[in-house]
Symmetry: C2
Subunit: 446 residues, 2 copies
Amino acid sequence: MPRLKIVDVSVRDVRFPTSDTLSGSDAMNPSPDYSASYVELMTDHSGLSGFGFTFTIGRGSDIVTRMVAELAEQFVGRSVGDVADMPAFMAASLEELTQDSFLRWLGPEKGVAHLAAAAVLNALWDLWARAAGVPLWQLLAELEPQQLVSCLSMRHLGDVLTPDEAVAMLEERRSGHQRRIEELRAGGYPAYLTSVGWLGYSDEQVRNLVNEAIGQGWNAFKLKVGGSLEDDRRRIAMVRELIGGERKLMVDANQVWEVPEAIEWIKELTDWDLSWVEEPTSPDDIAGHRAIAEAVAPVPIASGEQAHNRIMFKQFLASGAIGVCQIDSCRMASVNENIPVLLLAAKYDVPVCPHAGGVGLCELVQHLSMFDYIAVSASLDRRWTEYVDHLHEMFVSPVRIRGGAYQLPLAAGFSSEMTEEALAAYSYPDGTVWKARAESSNSHGS
Amino acid sequence: MPRLKIVDVSVRDVRFPTSDTLSGSDAMNPSPDYSASYVELMTDHSGLSGFGFTFTIGRGSDIVTRMVAELAEQFVGRSVGDVADMPAFMAASLEELTQDSFLRWLGPEKGVAHLAAAAVLNALWDLWARAAGVPLWQLLAELEPQQLVSCLSMRHLGDVLTPDEAVAMLEERRSGHQRRIEELRAGGYPAYLTSVGWLGYSDEQVRNLVNEAIGQGWNAFKLKVGGSLEDDRRRIAMVRELIGGERKLMVDANQVWEVPEAIEWIKELTDWDLSWVEEPTSPDDIAGHRAIAEAVAPVPIASGEQAHNRIMFKQFLASGAIGVCQIDSCRMASVNENIPVLLLAAKYDVPVCPHAGGVGLCELVQHLSMFDYIAVSASLDRRWTEYVDHLHEMFVSPVRIRGGAYQLPLAAGFSSEMTEEALAAYSYPDGTVWKARAESSNSHGS
């Protein structure tokens, strides 16, 4: 890796008009336009940049993008150094992007400020992996545990996971790395499919999509629920019949229930062997999730895609509030905060089944799932990473799915770079697609 | 109250250069510039506007201000209606400002999006109280409980506090309203003073300020701690000696400790009869606070100024994690979300001792403390509202303190209006003070 300096940044609000089709509709989010606050950190080495983003669902993306710009611009003119300097550079960047007192006041470590920090940190990890010439999962797996842990958000985890324990956990898993990498190269990492069951889809749409997906080799499917109990029971029964008893079925309520309501509702959904019920209530309600989990056992309760930081996960995991841990690559502070959660989940023996979908979340989070198997959990039992078949064509190195599994990514970096065509078309509001829509709406009235 | 329509909004980033003096310095926030994202909702009735704001500590205030503008501008052109329409208008506004799916994705109900919602909701409550011609505490106390509860954030509290229970609690307290109002009119609401003990102050500064405050009738004092144990012990001992055994002493660590560290540290501070130890660790760590509270009992643990919503307070209170509940008038969604927390605190018999200081937090939160005594807790036992003697001159109706107590506010509204002079001087970056500083810094180099 050469000595690098960050010489410029480019930050864009990239939006895709997904609300046109109700793809992505659920009980909480009726009509999202999937969007990314997208950042490129350009270096003084020609052609070498780091790309990162965070994900939003449309309106409000301008605010996040502005925050990303404010954070990213601080890095212009900074020397990154060479490969030996990267851990220290990353640790200092993490501190600056999450612990600055002004940023803490806007959070701390939550909401817009933290989403924006994730975008910049994702770009820094992409830059590091590209400079090293390896895919991110490999960079992470090859780092000395001590060095990796020095880059992680460990603050306020001290009561359950110290840096020394984290190092010891990673050391203990090192012997099997190569074997597990070969397994992933051969069979990929298991995935489940959400694209079949958006709440806005008709029964017929769901049926056709499930049948098509079975034909493509999918073995696990998720339905959105929480609109009406009658609809939920009918759709779940229909999908269970279509997929048979062996394939997996999960459901997702996207936070709509009160705690007592969740318990009653979920008890009406126990006839179909659900692998989990996701986000039954507020993502802040650790005690509520725990009460639900206890009341509906053995149905596993899943949550985490909107758990805002490692301190929330610490409590969810240590208290038994969730039986499935759903990290997100853009809501927490990138790899730096997700790896501590992988370690916590391993410590409490909870499978990690990452949230993905949106735009680019699959591209990013596959690296974390691969790393989890190689270096942390060393298990594929009860583990599936979410997959949604949207917008992968916008990326230079899109995910590859075969037989219902993510294939090991091979390109250098974090798979986070969008194509020039996508940026030209979907940058908001100046991309060609948005300009054309604005003109068309002006000429037709609105 | 006339029929009203909101016809325009004005949103400003107002910043005060408090970092010049280290007023406001603590273990987490070494040099804040106290700031407000300030909004005026103008109506079609000449001279009748609603004023609101949220508080930040400087950098990042531009992002919050932009979010406030985005939310406030939606209200331009809306009919508020007359007094009978206000509860429905408020309930709809709350839903729009906190439950919109786009806003939830940026939170949900936390961080920049929620701070911005607080500013707009504070302005709507100010408008309502001004239109009714009464101070906010009086408006709240005089509303029918059913109407008041219809304006509150009750979502995801259903397992511990239903709307019906909330109405019943408020009904039960109605008989004593008038007597308690007269008590407050005579003696005010007890306050404690934070201005004496910022972390950046020397021992001599602290000693002089404490002596001066005792002369003014103050009976409760807070020190910032968490920098060094030796310094903490020396300063606490010094202040306890200065104030004698009867007056109250609290300390505040501003989140700096890990959970085990907090327990050890606090055990070294038990010789001086502390009324509470505040924010020992991450404000997200309910289980951590509970572990600390159990380990250091009977020293009460206080938290809440950065607890981001009612769902966090529900858990803090129901689990016994805090013995002192510190609401904030600008971090949660205004009155709408603070009253449910007052009710929860009453249900679990935890005293509410609001966070204040910054800019204008005292002006706002005094109304909530008054309302808490009149209509919810009906108790002053172990209750003190924070007071800091900063920046009150920036407000049209500043708080009045006498004998260490907040005097009952009498002006119509939420005490949230800044003076024209303050706005002209401190609006950022175009106020006269900031322009002069920019010019001076340009001419001297920097």
